[in-house]
């Protein structure tokens, strides 16, 4: 009975509180002419409506739970003086602002919007341009970053910041954002249980997405295109990567996806297209690679060593210059039931599975690993001949690295 009373009381509170909350309007001819002024006067749970216009403001500190909503695309111009909005309170919502000219500093990481030690924040439909850091979350939990557009103008790595950066965060959703031309599109450090979905991260100087020491994270249906060095996932555990597309990460030290010290993760239904290296794996154990497509990459898979118990199953390897490259003779990974466009075997019993095992590591890829300059002999007749003789009797390449059940036709991945 007592409990019921409490619940009723809470509901009453909830239903009444909006009526206490005010709407404050900001525009050139309104009661408030600056956002800073409105934020200072606002009480808890008030809503600030920012109308059309340009506001030259920076260092807007939000220390109470309020909502800021933009109407008619207002612009906040920081004039390169410093940070624009800093949130240090729970339950803050910012919607639809257009923020430009964030200050650049080599000692402080100025951000367009920074969230510090707060919960339940919602940052959505923001447009950030000419920035240093875009959205910077510091020890912030349980929030959402949705449908923002971040367009930087980064030229050098040392003088530019990241689009969306999460540091020591937990349970944040990053969805539907577009990040372009910054240093790292999305950067995670010590952040757990983050969901990153449906983002487009392209033309960034360094990585499209960068993970460090972050566990139990999921990234789904993102597109990473034309980034300086692709996507890097390092020193993390229990990462789920599903349905992402990694395209056109071309360059001397470029790859679609770099895995370094990644354990117990899943890479499912991704597409790797036209990258110098599709996936570069180093020191990763117990990772499952299922139903991925590797198309037109230089190297589809480059396995660098200390990789154990990985399973590659039902992937399509289509028209890559090299399917798999290994730098050692040891193999503890399993290749099973993949489709290889370079497979030349036959299928006498017509069960769709080739009767001859496929060896994805060619002798030439071993030679190129040893002496990189030999790449110039790619596709030469002599190389084809030695590859063939190695295929018949493997000497240099790991002899247990075979796909015993190569598929004869490309695998159609289920749409799930």
């Amino acid at each position: 009975m007592k409990n019921l009373f409490y619940i009723a009381f809470i509901f009453l509170q909830l239903s009444l509180s909006p009526s206490f909350a005010q709407n404050l309007e900001v525009c050139a001819s309104c009661e408030f002419t600056s956002i800073t002024g409105a934020v200072e006067i606002a009480k808890d749970f008030d809503t600030i409506l920012v109308k059309k216009g340009t506001y030259k403001e920076y260092n807007i500190g939000i220390t109470k739970p309020i909502t800021i909503i933009a109407e008619g695309n207002p612009v906040i111009d920081g004039e390169n003086k410093g940070e624009i909005i800093t949130i240090q309170a729970d339950n803050v919502t910012i919607d639809g602002l257009h923020i430009i000219n964030v200050g650049t500093s080599y000692t402080t990481d100025f951000a367009a919007v920074r969230v510090v030690k707060s919960e339940n924040f919602l940052l959505q439909n923001l447009t950030l341009e000419r920035l240093f850091f875009g959205i910077y979350l510091e020890k912030a939990n349980n929030g959402k970053i949705l449908n923002n557009t971040i367009i930087g103008d980064a030229v050098e790595e040392f003088s530019s910041g990241n689009g969306i950066q999460l540091w020591h965060c937990k349970n944040v959703e990053v969805r539907g954002n577009k990040v372009k031309k910054v240093r790292d599109g999305i950067y995670l450090e010590f952040s757990d249980e983050i969901t990153i979905s449906n983002n487009i991260s392209s033309n960034n100087l360094r990585y499209g997405l960068h993970f460090m020491f972050s566990n139990h994270d999921t990234y789904v249906n993102n597109l990473f295109e034309n980034n300086g060095a692709g996507v890097a996932v390092m020193f993390s555990k229990f990462i789920k990567m599903e349905g992402n597309t990694f395209r056109k990460n071309w360059g001397t030290a470029s790859f679609g996806l770099l895995l370094k010290e990644i354990n117990d993760s899943e890479i499912i239904n991704n597409v790797f297209e036209e990258n110098t290296v599709g996936i570069n794996v180093e020191g990763s154990n117990r990772v499952n690679y299922f139903h991925n497509d590797f198309k037109n990459n230089g190297w589809a898979l480059k396995v660098r060593g200390a990789c154990y118990n990985n399973i590659f199953k039902e992937n399509n390897f289509l028209y890559n210059s090299f399917d798999v490259s290994y730098n050692s003779r040891l193999n503890d990974n399993k290749f099973e039931g993949n489709y290889w466009s370079n497979y030349t075997g036959y299928d006498l019993n017509r069960n769709g599975i080739g009767d001859v095992p496929y060896r994805p590591v060619k002798l030439f890829s071993y030679i190129v690993n040893r002496t990189p300059e030999t790449i110039i002999l790619l596709r030469s007749l002599f190389i084809d001949i030695i590859d063939f003789s190695e295929k018949v009797s493997p000497i240099f390449t790991p002899d247990n690295l075979v796909d015993k059940n190569p598929m004869l036709k490309p695998i159609h991945h289920g749409t799930n």
């Binding site: 001397t252 110098t276 230089g298 090299f322 300059e373 030999t374 110039i376 002999l377 002599f382």
Partner: protein
């Protein structure tokens, strides 16, 4: 010279072998397009054919034509014509007709397939140009060999050996030296070694258009920087042209002194 060129050319164009050669390329083009359904993939397969088969056919055909037309050559030598123009005329006749079979035979199916509306048009034309240049180079080398050897069997043997050396053995030696000297910086060496073999040079030129992502790997950058730029393209085309000019010059010099 042009009269003899014209004669050799039309003689060959009417001959059965040119038709076989032409039909072979036509069929190859059609089958490739039919099986692949993808223009750029077909171009890759074609590259393998061009850098292996074109030199082989150029060499064999050149040697064969020289030995077969010996009687006609003797007849011509009785006329008041310059020696060099007889042999050069024959050489250009053979090379032109072979190059034409190649370009038209491969070009036709691709034109009907819609190469003009495709982005692969530049790769494809580069392929045809290098193919034509390789024809000229290897026919010239074949003529040099034939002029130097009265003995037919010896001539054929040397010609086949030349092809084998350029297409296979050279790469083997190249690879071995690269691995043997792997502790030294090899960029310049491998660039030079590539430039010195027309087969390798054509392969790299075409590769840079196709397997660009692989070659862009960390060392590939050197090659990309060299061959990918306009300067590199001009230099390598120049090198191929030089490969045509030098044997032609040798033919010219040998023909002046050639006696039967």
């Amino acid at each position: 010279m042009f009269k003899i060129l014209k004669y050799s050319f039309f003689d060959l164009v009417r001959s059965r072998w040119s038709y076989v050669y032409f039909l072979f390329y036509l069929l190859l083009g059609i089958v490739l397009l039919f099986l692949n359904n993808d223009l750029s993939k077909a171009v890759i397969t074609l590259m393998n054919v061009i850098i292996i088969l074109v030199p082989l056919i150029g060499t064999i055909f050149g040697v064969m034509y020289y030995y077969n037309s010996r009687e006609f050559t003797e007849l011509l030598l009785a006329q008041p014509v310059k020696r060099s123009s007889i042999f050069l005329g024959q050489y250009f006749g053979v090379a032109f007709s072979l190059a034409m079979s190649l370009v038209i035979g491969l070009g036709l199916p691709f034109v009907f397939y819609g190469i003009f509306n495709s982005s692969a048009i530049w790769d494809f034309s580069l392929l045809l140009i290098t193919g034509a240049l390789l024809t000229f180079i290897f026919t010239a080398l074949a003529f040099v060999i034939a002029l130097a050897n009265e003995n037919k069997i010896k001539g054929f043997g040397y010609a086949i050996l030349l092809w084998l050396f350029m297409a296979v053995i050279y790469d083997g030696l190249f690879l071995m030296s690269l691995i043997y000297f792997e502790d030294y910086p090899l960029d310049k060496f491998s660039l030079a070694a590539t430039m010195l073999n027309p087969v390798d040079l054509s392969r790299v030129l075409i590769l840079l258009k196709l397997d660009i992502s692989a070659l862009l790997g960390y060392t590939g950058a050197v090659f990309q920087k060299f061959f990918g730029t306009n300067l590199g393209l001009i230099l390598s085309t120049g090198m191929l042209v030089l490969w045509v000019l030098i044997p032609t010059g040798i033919i010219y010099r040998m023909a002046k002194r050639k006696d039967f």
